[in-house]
């Protein structure tokens, strides 16, 4: 090509591709400096490992009423966390509870992410009547407590791990949809969206190829905050006796049984309370850290 414009000196930055400082690298660098978020990350990693180990191995069968074992045992070498009201090993039950909590937390977050992002993108990008319908629907549900909707829906759907996630997602997706709608609303007006349309991009490409990647920071933060809410709601439902069907152990159901036994044996209540508190704190610290790292403008 006989183009007279040469590669000028100003491009002399070298031909070797430089290290990319993109959203991720930059975000994680800032996250690493946040001690609290880092500690939370370490704790959650351990928790995930425990939950995965519990899939294959627990010290005892968490559902089995062990022969020759006393009920309401305190911590001992054989049973580090003691035994419960039926003589089941509490450590094994707590490990299974961690599994349930994380499945519910991450699973709900995944449902919320999928539904909220799709609905939010459609409302924010197409606007008009479709946005009005979605917004009115969300605003109506904002007036009703989410926990009430979750309880009623769960009773209607019937018991089960999947149904618990659906019941919690039923209201939790709305916050995500609102957030994504707002993002789509502002990003659709950027010039690069116009440029994409001019170069023949269809709506789907604009939504998922341009608007979504550019609003990923706040979406990740929101998805992280959904996890502790879901864990807490599941524990609350199980505490009420509505949650995970017995003999599966959930931190909520262990706490419920422990509350009944509080005068006899305080440990049974203590373990799930401590585990829940630490986990909720850790997810919240991580969420805060991610928000500061990926979405510095939203810092409060």
């Amino acid at each position: 090509m006989a183009i007279s414009t040469p590669v000028l000196e100003e491009y002399a930055g070298g031909t070797v591709a430089r290290e990319q400082v993109g959203l991720w690298r930059d975000g994680f660098r800032r996250l690493r400096r946040n001690r609290l978020a880092l500690a939370a990350l370490v704790y959650l990693t351990i928790l995930f490992v425990v939950a995965i180990v519990a899939l294959f191995w627990t010290p005892y069968n968490p559902a089995a009423i062990l022969p020759n074992t006393l009920t309401f045992l305190g911590p001992s070498a054989a049973h580090p966390l003691g035994t419960d009201d039926l003589g089941r090993d509490l450590l094994s039950r707590m490990m299974q509870g961690a599994q349930i909590s994380l499945i519910v937390g991450v699973g709900t977050s995944a449902i919320v992410l999928t539904v909220g992002v799709v609905v939010g993108l459609i409302a924010g990008y197409f606007r008009g009547w479709i946005d009005n319908v979605i917004s009115v629907f969300i605003n109506i549900f904002y007036g009703i407590p989410g926990i009430l909707v979750a309880i009623i829906l769960y009773l209607v759907l019937g018991r089960g791990l999947g149904n618990i996630m659906i019941a919690i997602s039923a209201t939790a997706w709305m916050d995500m949809a609102r957030l994504v709608r707002g993002q789509a609303f502002s990003i659709r007006e950027r010039e690069y969206i116009e440029a994409a349309r001019a170069s023949g991009a269809r709506s789907g490409k604009i939504l998922f190829g341009h608007i979504l990647p550019n609003s990923l920071g706040p979406i990740i933060v929101q998805a992280t905050f959904v996890i502790p809410i879901a864990i807490l709601t599941e524990a609350f439902l199980s505490y009420l006796g509505l949650g995970i069907p017995s003999p599966l152990a959930s931190w909520g159901s262990i706490a419920s049984e422990g509350y009944a036994a509080l005068p006899l044996e305080p440990y049974m209540m203590l373990w799930p309370a401590v585990a829940l508190s630490l986990t909720l704190l850790a997810f919240n610290f991580l969420g805060d850290g991610l928000r500061d790292a990926f979405d510095p403008r939203q810092r409060l």
């Binding site: 090509m1 006989a2 183009i3 007279s4 414009t5 040469p6 590669v7 000028l8 100003e10 491009y11 031909t15 591709a17 430089r18 990319q20 993109g22 959203l23 950027r190 010039e191 690069y192 116009e194 440029a195 994409a196 349309r197 001019a198 170069s199 023949g200 991009a201 269809r202 490409k205 341009h210 990647p213 550019n214 990923l216």
Partner: protein
């Protein structure tokens, strides 16, 4: 407006089918009940294949809106945009999308018009991917070829836009516009956001590319100096209407509309001896609101030779032929050069 004027198509070389024919295009933006912003109010012109037409006017005159109407990024209120014999204002969906292959756009702001989350290679390849023209290794080769064509290092394809300077980014935008081998490129103030030293580079590049790929340009700018060298013809727009059209050199030597004369007088001359003899035609006041444009000639509120009260305030002047291929919309165009002095 009741008396919208359909201009006869001005042609430099007669008897060639125009590539783009804009016929009486109107764009009104709703602004509350019963009122609308008349951003583009009855504009007609032709662009011949291989031609560069400059479009000049101050901020808010509707020139960028006109560019977006031609590319159908926003729909017209009325009128036709005929590209190569097809009225694209009547096309919807997939048919309109297919027409975009012929018609690309270079945007004003090189910082805002590139997706910050995409690599330069992906940005340039996007039009190719959208039309499934090419993929895999052939696509990479095409991207590198395009980067080389616009004077960038072809191995920069995996970098992100924020790693480039304004001029380099505009080159990326140009490469994207070239990817589909379009026939017409709308350049929407492609150098307004750049340093003066970079402006010349980009304009030279656009000229080289035009020769290389037989491109046709509509070149939008807000001052006459930028479009002078690149354009075959220049159109001057004021408040949603075209007030003067002339072959480029003709417009710079003789103006038939007082607004054009005022715009021309505002260009500084880099020769101090000439500069000291220059006189600035000062226009009084701001550009009027397009919500409620002045009656008669829209320029009469700021015109140094307007007869108010009189014909200028009452009758809208039609865009008529004043010379060879030279059109202007002024009742007193013969007085423009005698009554408005731009040299001492």
């Amino acid at each position: 407006m009741t008396d919208t004027v359909v201009a006869p198509a001005p042609r430099v070389v007669p008897a060639v089918e125009p590539l783009l024919r804009v016929v009486n295009v109107v764009k009104h933006f709703g602004a509350g009940v019963g009122s609308s912003v008349k951003a583009v109010d009855g504009v007609s012109f032709d662009i011949l294949p291989g031609e560069t037409v400059g479009l000049v006017g101050e901020s808010g005159c509707g020139k960028s809106t006109l560019g977006r109407l031609i590319t159908q990024l926003i729909p017209v209120t009325s009128g036709e945009v005929v590209l190569d014999g097809v009225d694209i204002t009547r096309l919807r969906g997939e048919k309109l999308r297919q027409q975009r292959k012929q018609l690309q756009m270079i945007f004003q702001d090189p910082y805002a018009s590139l997706d910050p989350r995409m690599t330069v290679g992906d940005i340039i390849a996007e039009p190719l991917v959208n039309f499934k023209m090419i993929s895999g290794r052939a696509k990479d080769a095409r991207v590198q070829e395009l980067l080389r064509t616009v004077g960038l290092n072809p191995y920069f394809n995996n970098r992100y836009p924020h790693e480039f300077s304004g001029g380099q980014r505009q080159r990326i935008g140009i490469a994207r516009a070239l990817a589909l081998n379009p026939r017409l490129i709308i350049c929407d103030e492609p150098v307004s956001a750049l340093d003066v030293s970079i402006q010349a580079q980009i304009i030279n590049l656009l000229e080289d590319l035009q020769r290389e790929f037989t491109l046709t340009y509509l070149f939008i700018a807000h001052d006459l100096s930028v479009v002078r060298h690149i354009s075959n013809r220049v159109m001057v727009m004021y408040l949603g209407k075209i007030v003067e059209v002339a072959p480029s050199e003709d417009l710079y030597t003789s103006q038939e509309h007082p607004y054009t004369r005022a715009l021309l007088s505002s260009i500084p001359v880099p020769d101090p001896r000439i500069e000291s003899k220059r006189r600035l035609v000062e226009l009084s006041g701001e550009i009027p609101s397009p919500l409620n444009p002045p009656s008669g000639c829209r320029f009469h509120t700021r015109c140094p030779i307007a007869q108010v009260p009189g014909v200028c305030a009452d009758v809208e002047p039609p865009l008529e032929l004043k010379g060879d291929g030279h059109l202007a919309a002024c009742h007193f165009s013969e007085q423009v050069r005698t009554k408005i002095a731009i040299t001492v």
